[in-house]
């Protein structure tokens, strides 16, 4: 998927969180956005997902050169945008399998019967080293932080998205789980070469597992510096308060 943010400005209530935000992600590209706490990274992910409370006051969001400003969250999801939430919610009294089936049927043109569906989901759960029982438990209820994240990736692999936003994927995942999850994601990306990824993170750890082509640092509501993977290493070394210079396409300390 081709996604473009053009001079995007976004307000929550009266507070401007994003200002003149520009970003272009081409099919198959992996980008990472880094920035300190509270700078607006999760806001950005929800704006791309289409949350109506985040008011776009200027600029545009385009998918394959068409504005999606008026497209609802549900429709964006069906177009293939998938947000892995920083803090996935739980739903008491409704089984995981039921929520996943409802989503799957909503998104697919050829609904599977229950047996096929369960077999499919159990296959993915196995790949993610998840306990099969979790599918039959209330959705995310009593799940650990890491289990919730795995459940998000399970859902992702089920819906086969074309644009993936990973909002702090590594929070809650231990080293082994992070490896399992990113192995599964990398495999998916290999098989789906047109799928683009936006990784949102304040740590570089995840970037060692899913290698971005471009790294962007967010400051004051927009991207202040862009570079390649080495920018992530500079940020890790010096923190976000350091200003970096870019000369040509080189980043200098």
């Amino acid at each position: 998927m081709n996604l473009e943010l053009e001079n995007l400005s976004v307000k929550i209530d009266d507070k401007e969180i994003l200002k003149n935000f520009n970003l272009k992600i081409k099919p198959g590209e992996i980008h990472a956005i880094m920035g300190p706490n509270g700078i607006g990274k999760s806001t950005l992910s929800k704006v791309i997902m289409g949350y109506p409370d985040y008011k776009i006051v200027a600029g545009d969001i385009k998918v394959d050169n068409k504005s999606i400003k008026d497209v609802t969250i549900t429709e964006r999801s069906r177009m293939g945008i998938f947000l892995v939430y920083q803090n996935p919610i739980s739903i008491e009294g409704v089984k995981s399998s039921e929520v996943l089936k409802s989503s799957y049927d909503s998104c697919s043109k050829t609904p599977k019967n229950l047996y096929e569906f369960i077999t499919n989901v159990e296959g993915i759960a196995h790949e993610l080293e998840m306990n099969k029982n979790m599918l039959h438990r209330d959705f995310n209820v009593g799940f650990s932080g890491g289990e919730r994240k795995k459940n998000e990736i399970l859902w992702l692999l089920l819906l086969k998205p074309k644009f993936i936003i990973l909002d702090e994927l590594d929070s809650g995942l231990d080293v082994d789980s992070l490896k399992t999850v990113t192995d599964a994601l990398n495999k998916y990306l290999k098989e789906n070469k047109e799928t683009s990824v936006l990784i949102i993170t304040h740590y570089t750890r995840i970037l060692d597992y899913i290698k971005p082509k471009y790294v962007h640092m967010v400051k004051e509501g927009h991207i202040s510096v862009s570079g390649d993977f080495s920018l992530a290493k500079l940020i890790e070394k010096y923190g976000y308060n350091q200003s970096f210079d870019i000369k040509g396409d080189k980043i200098c300390e």
Binding site: I73, T74, S77, F82, L83, G93, S103, S106, L159
Partner: protein, 232 residues
């Protein structure tokens, strides 16, 4: 499981063995339930289009899990809880007509636990009231009393929750929570972001609200028709 369809205006259920019951009520009824000393029981109540006065007496060391689904119904419920006993109650009321519900929980003996959940779905522009009164008698010890109530307005219904706790003792953990409002937007949007439309998201959340604290098995059949009829 004992299935009983109650069609009289007064019915007494004396439980003196560890058995479970499914009671169906379709007309106004005064229902008395007594759980004898040392007995553990579970009751599922299905109340349709009627008003039920429900008196529960829990004797020493008895325990009762009671879950009730009321459709266009109302309940006046009085619970007397003796020492070392355990009451878990969940009532879900879905109403398209005015419904005024009262739950009185009287803890009369020490070492007792009571958890009570009241869930309401106010379907149209009607009235839906919950009054929940918890009363712990003087000088009792080691009591846990929890009352949680929530009402979701599908439209602009007039919904109200009045929770009261009267505690006359120190060695007591008692709390109550109450929420009246619409569907949780964060949850709806989360489901939307997985391709689920608003109608289906609300169906999922209704299931969660009405049945989150219940064992659905006995009510599954009633349930899907019901939820589908609420969401248009």
């Amino acid at each position: 499981m004992n299935k009983i369809c109650i069609e009289t205006s007064n019915y007494k259920l004396h439980i003196n063995s560890n058995e479970n019951y499914f009671l169906e009520i379709k007309k106004d009824t005064n229902l008395f339930i007594e759980v004898t000393k040392n007995i553990h029981s579970k009751i599922t109540l299905l109340i349709k289009d009627s008003h039920v006065t429900l008196n529960i007496d829990l004797k020493d060391f008895a325990s009762l899990d009671i879950q009730g689904l009321g459709v266009n119904a109302s309940i006046l419920n009085e619970n007397n809880i003796a020492k070392n006993s355990n009451l878990n109650g969940v009532f879900s009321i879905i109403s398209q007509i005015d419904s005024d519900n009262v739950v009185n929980i009287n803890v009369l003996g020490s070492n007792s636990n009571c958890k009570f959940f009241m869930n309401g779905i106010n379907v149209s522009n009607n009235k839906l009231y919950f009054t929940v009164n918890g009363k712990i008698a003087k000088d009792l010890e080691d009591i846990l009393l929890e009352e949680n109530s929530q009402i979701i307005n599908i439209e602009d219904g007039n919904s109200k929750i009045i929770p009261n706790l009267i505690v006359d003792s120190n060695s007591v953990v008692a709390n109550h929570s109450a929420f009246v409002g619409n569907f949780d937007l964060e949850l709806i949007r989360y489901l939307n972001s997985r391709g689920i439309d608003n109608k289906e998201a609300k169906r999922i959340l209704l299931t969660s609200i009405l049945f989150g604290k219940m064992e659905l098995r006995d009510l599954e059949k009633e349930f899907s028709d019901l939820v589908n009829s609420i969401i248009i």
